[in-house]
């Protein structure tokens, strides 16, 4: 009776369009008894979410920020429409404390500490995972909030697949994409290409001028190309390599209320390449990985009328990353990892006195104990850095399955750090070369409840509590006319995350429901002065409450999904805040299959209620936005 009541309630809130099952698409929590893949670290006790490949495919023409924005634990900050710089942070820790990795390599900027997600198209990946614990032991610097992993997992079977895509949307938005994947069991190759542009000329309400106006100077165009090659050289030897190039040219629009006589532009280009060699000998996997990243950015501010350059800056970063990892399957229960990392970073920035470099070597040891109902791991890391003393870091986690895996308990703790960015250290006149890394501890505990697990009905809930301290937090402080970054504060990240996921398979319909409720109490705990007004204050741009509800219904070749999101107020200064806001998106999809050709059509309306809101103070986000997508797949 109780199950029926629950079913009726959940069915009531979904859109009533008749459909039958086509595909179950969902964001799922990793099955706790699944084998830990060689590219994954031991992370027992940590909340880990893997974005379903179907969701990734549905967002092939978008960026990672669009894909992840449906997950409310991610705090997204964007300067406007697509193409605008956007960053995300997990658990309120900040964008520089949320690491983005590509094939296991950190791609956050060494000058800013953040990753601009507008430079990350979804097209190049088929595996996106969020590690909410993201220990520094495994990932290195800047993981207090967690880690987002991006990968392409080769499809190890005979196949040949061509995908073509076209998107047309408001504000002059056009996206053209293509991907080709071919392979056998021993060789797989995939390439993807996406070119996009937008005028960004959306209408918004200017609350300074008290008038509705149109965004100007917001054009952008971008291009991204990826290649991935996988070769099974031998029964026990695999080679994998990848190349990723991105280019973006954008105009930076003025803030609300401003009509300046100058124009700002920015060009970004990024080249990334990696090579991985993996071998398996006698219960031991050995992986050697190396990567090279080369990033450029040019910024210019020009007086429009006289075409005079007011100011400009150039940034050139390189990273060289090397890893050797040995995983030994000691027994059926015990697995051990040993890893050595060697990294080199350099930055040549026009606002630095000269080229800056940093070297580091890290040694990681980890051991996992796993039986049917219980698993635990301990990891230890010692890093030697050319500039800092990094203490020994550790990570420990446990996971316990009870009631025949109906309830999974987990707990995890880790010691973390974040090195200052190059801008913090070397920005001419204002940088502080005496900064020390931020450091601290995070821990989380949670439980997943598999309430219903039948062929026709799956209901899973999850609750997580997390907490942590960031000591020696770096904040820029005014000192007369000059600003300097200093290690002056301590911040606490704290919150509760609730999740509920449901799949119902009816005769002709499949219903998916995702519900998430977050409470985040991350705040400053200490600053230089005990009377400082910031003490106890919520961290800027961190909402106290996030709620999302994402129902979907599929019927035969049709799918309708709805995305409801609510974010509570966010402070951007001590007494001033951005108001709470609610957005509603709807997407209708239809697929047609003719022999080996599948055609997907979809129409999406974002922000149906035309809500006026900002993610960053003074930068409006578009109101109602309509987008049409057309994708062809040839198998």
């Amino acid at each position: 009776m109780k199950n029926k009541t629950l079913y009726l309630f959940l069915a009531f809130v979904c859109i009533g369009v008749s459909a039958s099952a086509q595909h179950i698409s969902d964001t799922i929590v990793l099955d706790s008894v699944a084998v830990c893949k060689t590219y994954e670290y031991f992370n027992n006790g940590a909340k880990r979410e893997i974005i379903d490949s179907y969701q990734i495919q549905q967002n092939q023409n978008s960026t990672i920020s669009t894909l992840l924005s449906a997950n409310s634990s991610l705090i997204l900050k964007s300067y406007g429409h697509s193409g605008s710089a956007s960053t995300l942070s997990l658990r309120g820790a900040g964008a520089s404390q949320t690491q983005i990795t590509w094939e296991g390599f950190p791609i956050n900027s060494i000058t800013m500490g953040e990753m601009d997600l507008s430079l990350v198209p979804t097209q190049g990946f088929n595996y996106v995972a969020i590690d909410h614990s993201g220990s520094s032991t495994n990932y290195g610097s800047g993981t207090f909030g967690g880690v987002v992993e991006l990968r392409y997992i080769p499809v190890k079977q005979n196949h040949s697949k061509l995908q073509l895509g076209y998107t047309q949307g408001n504000f002059g938005t056009r996206k053209y994409s293509g991907a080709y994947s071919v392979g056998t069991k021993k060789i797989q190759y995939r390439t993807s290409l996406i070119a996009n542009k937008s005028d960004g000329n959306f209408t918004y309400f200017d609350y300074i001028d008290n008038a509705t106006t149109t965004r100007n100077n917001a054009e952008y165009k971008g291009f991204s190309n990826t290649h991935t090659l996988f070769i099974q050289l031998h029964k026990h030897i695999q080679l994998q390599s990848g190349i990723w190039y991105t280019y973006k040219n954008m105009s930076i629009p003025p803030i609300i209320g401003s009509k300046p006589n100058f124009k700002e532009t920015q060009k970004d280009s990024s080249f990334k390449a990696y090579l991985q060699l993996q071998t398996y000998i006698n219960r031991t996997t050995i992986i050697y990985k190396t990567a090279f990243f080369n990033d450029f950015q040019e910024y210019a501010k020009t007086i429009t009328k006289i075409n005079k350059n007011l100011t400009s800056s150039n940034i050139h970063n390189t990273k060289q990353l090397h890893t050797v990892k040995v995983r030994r399957y000691i027994s059926d229960k015990i697995t051990a990892d040993l890893e050595i990392q060697g990294n080199y970073y350099s930055a040549d920035v026009s606002s630095y006195k000269d080229t800056k470099q940093e070297f580091s070597n890290a040694y990681i040891g980890a051991i996992q104990y796993k039986i049917a109902q219980f698993q635990s791991n301990i990891s230890v890391r010692k890093e030697f850095n050319s500039h800092y003393q990094i203490p020994i870091l550790y990570c420990a986690g446990i996971q316990y399955n009870t009631f025949k895996n109906r309830i999974i308990w987990r707990a995890n703790t880790s010691k973390k750090y974040r090195t200052p960015t190059f801008n913090d250290l070397y920005w001419e006149q204002w940088g502080n070369p005496n900064l020390i890394p931020e450091s601290g501890i995070t821990w989380e505990t949670g439980s997943q409840q598999n309430i219903i697990q039948t062929k026709k009905h799956v209901l899973t809930t999850d609750i997580t509590y997390f907490e942590g301290y960031i000591n020696n937090k770096i904040i820029w402080i005014p000192n007369g006319a000059v600003w300097n970054p200093m290690n002056v504060a301590q911040a606490k990240i704290q919150g509760i995350e609730l999740r509920a996921k449901q799949i119902i398979k009816l005769q002709k319909h499949t219903i998916n429901n995702n519900l998430g409720i977050d409470w985040n109490n991350s705040h400053i705990t200490k600053t230089l002065e005990s009377t400082e007004m910031a003490n106890g204050h919520q961290l800027y741009y961190v909402p106290k409450y996030n709620i999302y509800f994402h129902p979907q219904i599929s019927y035969k070749t049709w799918n309708i999904s709805v995305n409801n999101q609510f974010h509570s107020q966010r402070y951007y200064a001590i007494h001033t805040s951005l108001p709470s806001y609610y957005t509603l998106d709807i997407t209708i999809k239809h697929s047609v299959t003719i022999k080996k050709c599948i055609t997907h059509f979809s129409i999406g309306i974002q922000n149906i209620t035309n809500t006026h809101y900002e993610l960053i103070r003074s930068y409006p986000i578009p109101g109602r936005y309509l987008e049409f997508n057309y994708n062809l797949i040839f198998n």
Binding site: S258, E428, Y465, H523, A573
Partner: protein
């Protein structure tokens, strides 16, 4: 099922307790209560008190005017008086002319005009690119300094009835502070994003530049002394090559300009560049000059040996013409910016937490 749920709750709560923090936490700051709309019944209205000009955070669109009188303080007077409408980005200055206040909002490229008694909005002066300061020219004209140093370096004459430009007078780079005396407008060309070392003198009848006076690099602030001479504080210039190697071209200096002959006399040559870079680092009262460096210093026009009066780094300094109290603005904290009242001898009287980056106090 009931046992299942009971065990679920019990195990979760015990794990939560095990991992919860035991550290003492400071009590979170209570949410500030909303500002009550004050009832001003005096005929002077808000003009009875004083105003603190708060620039706000750059690109934060949170510039404000903070109001203080004997009985109340209002954190954001413009918003309070105008249905929560916001001023804009970087409030550079406020000038009261005949019961009308002109608020120059630099990065929103406009001047908001309000009734100084009620602070209700009267209108907006637009078609500006970099407005800085306002002075009275005649009963229905004001002058606005505008210019970033590279372009649009003008003093605009604005009709106060139509709020439209009636003239544009080309001056030096980055026209900033202005003073009016004896039918002349003195314009400090502070350089903007470029640099300059001159004062432009404009005849208010002809609206022509009649003199350009070279005083020193980056003339920032000016005052008239008791004899009608113009005191100018110049911050000095540092240049950088492409490798950011600094060259100090000149140190700060304080000069006096004879407004009849335009002769320039140096009062003090500093052996360094002053720590303050704002356009409000100079004040004058009855023979005593005050300036901001790593403290508030005072010197006289006849004795250039400075006396340290108030220790600390400040952003702006003004003297209450009635009480002679010294008012300074402080931006040393990341979250609490203040206007601080001192007696003429440098004894602290009271401090007020204002909006961000208070740069001046208007009486």
């Amino acid at each position: 099922m009931n046992n299942f749920l009971l065990h679920t709750a019990a195990l979760f709560i015990s794990t939560l307790v095990l991992f919860s923090s035991c550290k003492e936490e400071p009590m979170p700051q209570p949410e500030p209560e909303p500002e009550p709309i004050p009832v001003i019944i005096d005929s002077l209205g808000y003009m009875k008190g004083i105003f603190v000009v708060c620039e706000g955070n750059f690109n934060g669109n949170d510039g404000s005017i903070y109001y203080i009188n004997d009985t109340i303080q209002i954190a954001n007077l413009y918003e309070t008086a105008n249905n929560n409408n916001q001023l804009g980005d970087i409030v550079q200055s406020m000038t009261i002319i005949d019961s009308t206040a002109y608020i120059a909002v630099n990065n929103s490229q406009k001047i908001e005009v309000v009734n100084a008694k009620t602070f209700k909005k009267i209108g907006t002066i637009k078609d500006l690119t970099f407005p800085r300061y306002v002075v009275k020219v005649s009963n229905d004209e004001i002058a606005v300094s505008n210019g970033d140093g590279y372009s649009n370096n003008y003093v605009y004459i604005i009709n106060t009835n139509t709020f439209k430009k009636t003239d544009s007078i080309a001056v030096g780079a980055g026209p900033n502070k202005m003073l009016v005396n004896n039918n002349k407008i003195y314009v400090a060309n502070m350089g903007g994003w470029s640099n300059d070392k001159t004062i432009s003198v404009i005849n208010t009848s002809t609206l022509q530049v009649i003199e350009t006076i070279e005083v020193g690099d980056l003339p920032a602030d000016m005052e008239f002394d008791n004899n009608g001479n113009l005191l100018v504080l110049c911050y000095g210039l540092t240049t950088y090559d492409q490798d950011w190697n600094a060259t100090i071209v000149s140190n700060s200096k304080l000069v006096k300009v004879n407004t009849t002959t335009y002769a320039v006399t140096t009062i003090k040559n500093f052996d360094h560049q002053l720590a303050n870079f704002s356009a409000n680092g100079l004040a004058y009262n009855n023979g005593t000059i005050y300036y901001l460096d790593d403290a508030v210093y005072s010197i006289s026009t006849t004795n250039a040996t400075p006396t340290k009066l108030i220790d600390g780094y400040f952003y702006g300094i003004d003297i209450n013409p009635t009480t002679k109290d010294i008012w300074v603005t402080s931006t040393s904290s990341t979250n609490s910016h203040k206007a601080i009242q001192y007696s003429p001898t440098g004894t602290k009287i009271k401090e007020y937490v204002t909006g961000f980056y208070p740069n001046a106090v208007v009486f």
